[in-house]
Symmetry: C2
Subunit: 222 residues, 2 copies
């Protein structure tokens, strides 16, 4: 069976897990701690970053963004991007917003400082980064509200990888209880729709030893 | 005519310029200084980052990675990615290496500190970042040598966006004379092949007022 090397609180790894589940592709998940720089893993991907997919025929797909495009090209039956070229560009724009901009401005500052540093033994959280992350998340939740007021889903009429990209970031933040849901009802409504999808179930079952999530993390009525 | 908003020393902007030239698509280049956060530009792209392409029919494509995929999908006649799905994944892996990893480890530390800070009035260069960038570039030049010893081009048998991605990063570094070419003859040979392509000519003619490039920057026999 195909193998996915991933880390539970790594956003691009979460995208890969949700995409594989949406497309109905069975896989064996293997947790990879990138900070250990395990030699076998580095032979698969010199960048040393999950996710990495190893197909049954030995094909290795490394790099989170490359893997998104690969899954869409190799398994198009359940499409997570529209067909029309300009609409695809909008999906990728919104997906990049969350996978790159949100990641840098929010997730690295909060999940990175509070949780990944602790798991990887890289020292104490840096308070100014945490303050920046907490300030920045509000702006991104407002952007989700802005988009979801104008469109059924974040990048247009259909559920796409743009929704997956945004939802996995919020799910990582929700794992450390850092999403102000009460102040952001539109973003909460949109997230609730994704949280209830079967493809999201495995993510909601994640629990890192010594760092369990808050109770509402897995609750569909949060 | 289609318009490309770009910045001369912004790697993803350079990728767009080279791809448009390779595909023979005429465009009007407009220089955008993202740090000015110009209101008209922000209405095109809330992320405020070049490159942004505006097509004749008004279609706006924002986000550098989205634009790469868009140009490949909308104008496939001159292909800059192979057709086979697994080979495309390898092209995207190598392209991401340079557009994300190299950018973070080298370009931001050197071009960002030495040139962009000065142009945008964001203060003085941070010496530890510059030291890190100078140390990191060597490792990446060795990776280019490693790949180009095993393959005709960085991601396989053909010239692809992976080569463009790596070449534009090096061209930005070369603009500030920070590429140790003499110590890295394999990377130099590979770069020389790209530098001589007609699609690269406009980049080699770039000259920022007050910050001209070194003489060898535009020299094909460097």
């Amino acid at each position: 069976m195909r193998i996915l090397f991933h880390h539970p609180l790594h956003p691009l790894s979460r995208v890969a897990r949700v995409m594989l589940a949406e497309k109905g592709l069975p896989f064996e998940p293997v947790i990879e701690k990138p900070w250990e720089r395990r030699e076998e893993f580095l032979t698969l991907t010199p960048a040393g970053e999950p996710p990495v997919l190893v197909e049954d025929d030995g094909t290795v797909v490394a790099g989170g963004l490359a893997l998104i495009e690969y899954l869409e090209e190799a398994y198009p039956d359940v499409a997570l991007m529209p067909r029309e070229v300009a609409l695809r560009a909008e999906v990728r724009r919104v997906a990049s917003w969350f996978l790159q901009k949100f990641d840098r401005e929010v997730t690295e500052n909060l999940v990175g400082e509070k949780l990944i540093k602790r798991l990887s033994g890289q020292g104490h959280p840096y308070a100014p980064a945490i303050r920046a992350g907490l300030a920045n998340i509000q702006y991104h939740l407002e952007y989700i509200a802005f988009l979801s007021e104008r469109r059924p889903w974040l990048a247009g009429p259909a559920f796409t990888v743009a929704d997956i990209a945004a939802a996995v970031q919020l799910s990582c933040l929700d794992y450390i209880d850092n999403v102000p849901w009460d102040k952001n009802p539109e973003a909460k409504d949109w997230y609730a729709r994704i949280k209830s999808r079967p493809s999201f179930r495995a993510l909601l079952a994640d629990s890192i030893p010594g760092c369990p999530p808050p109770k509402h993390y897995a609750d569909l009525d949060f």
